[in-house]
């Protein structure tokens, strides 16, 4: 039973990845040069970036938890410890990476770095903003 479940899981994950990539190809064919859609288009700069990153973190985490609770908790009936570790472990990973990402973004886009980049490429001043 466990072998069948594992095989079905791999097949389902494969199909989902292919659907995801096929969606990307369809979008790429329909609008090759379109820009990403921000969460709040009127918010720019740091507030816009933080809102975008935090909403991606929360949305992605909630989606993953939905899958983990639905599959491992409901269908496959894994031990509750595994589900609990998945929740705390992913939160730990997010807690480690979010400040690191924001710090690196600040380092790359701080005024001194922007000035340096602006000197190297004319007109690149605005492009360096987050």
């Amino acid at each position: 039973m466990a072998d069948t479940l594992a095989f079905v899981t791999v097949c389902v994950v494969y199909v989902l990845v292919m659907i995801y990539l096929a969606t990307g190809l369809c979008i790429l064919r329909r609008a090759p040069r379109a820009r990403p859609q921000p969460v709040r288009p009127h918010r720019r700069g740091w507030p816009g970036l933080i809102l975008q990153v935090v909403s991606t973190y929360l949305g992605g985490w909630l989606l993953l938890m939905l899958v983990i609770l639905g599959y491992y908790g409901g269908l496959a009936r894994h031990s509750p410890g595994f589900v609990l570790h998945a929740i705390t472990g992913t939160l730990l990973l997010m807690g480690l990476t979010l400040p690191l990402f924001l710090a690196l973004t600040w380092l790359a886009t701080r005024p001194a770095a922007r000035r340096r980049r602006g000197r190297r490429s004319p007109g690149g001043r605005d492009a360096a903003r987050p």
């Binding site: 990307g24 969460v39 949305g59």
Partner: protein, 82 residues
């Protein structure tokens, strides 16, 4: 390290071939920058234009990162202390 299961070499070979195919296709896409050969990053960027696409990719990254680095981790990714 002693309690690692012994796998047949063919198992590793199949993984190597699969990754080789992936990298070869990516290289073809990079060498021919037209819409006919989209790279993986171009495809992912297209899906990431939308909020839901970003959520799915972040969830996949989180799942992989948790499995690879957090589950059963040791400080600074070192092996278990003897």
């Amino acid at each position: 390290m002693d309690d690692l299961p012994q796998h047949a070499r063919i198992g590793y070979l199949v993984w190597a071939v699969l990754f080789a195919c992936l990298f070869a296709w990516e290289a073809i896409g990079l060498l021919h920058p037209t819409d006919s050969f989209p790279t993986l990053s171009q495809t992912l960027k297209a899906v990431m234009r939308y909020q839901f696409g970003r959520w799915v990719l972040f969830a996949a990254w989180l799942w992989f990162g948790w499995h690879a680095f957090v589950q059963g981790w040791h400080f600074l990714l070192r092996g278990p202390v003897a």
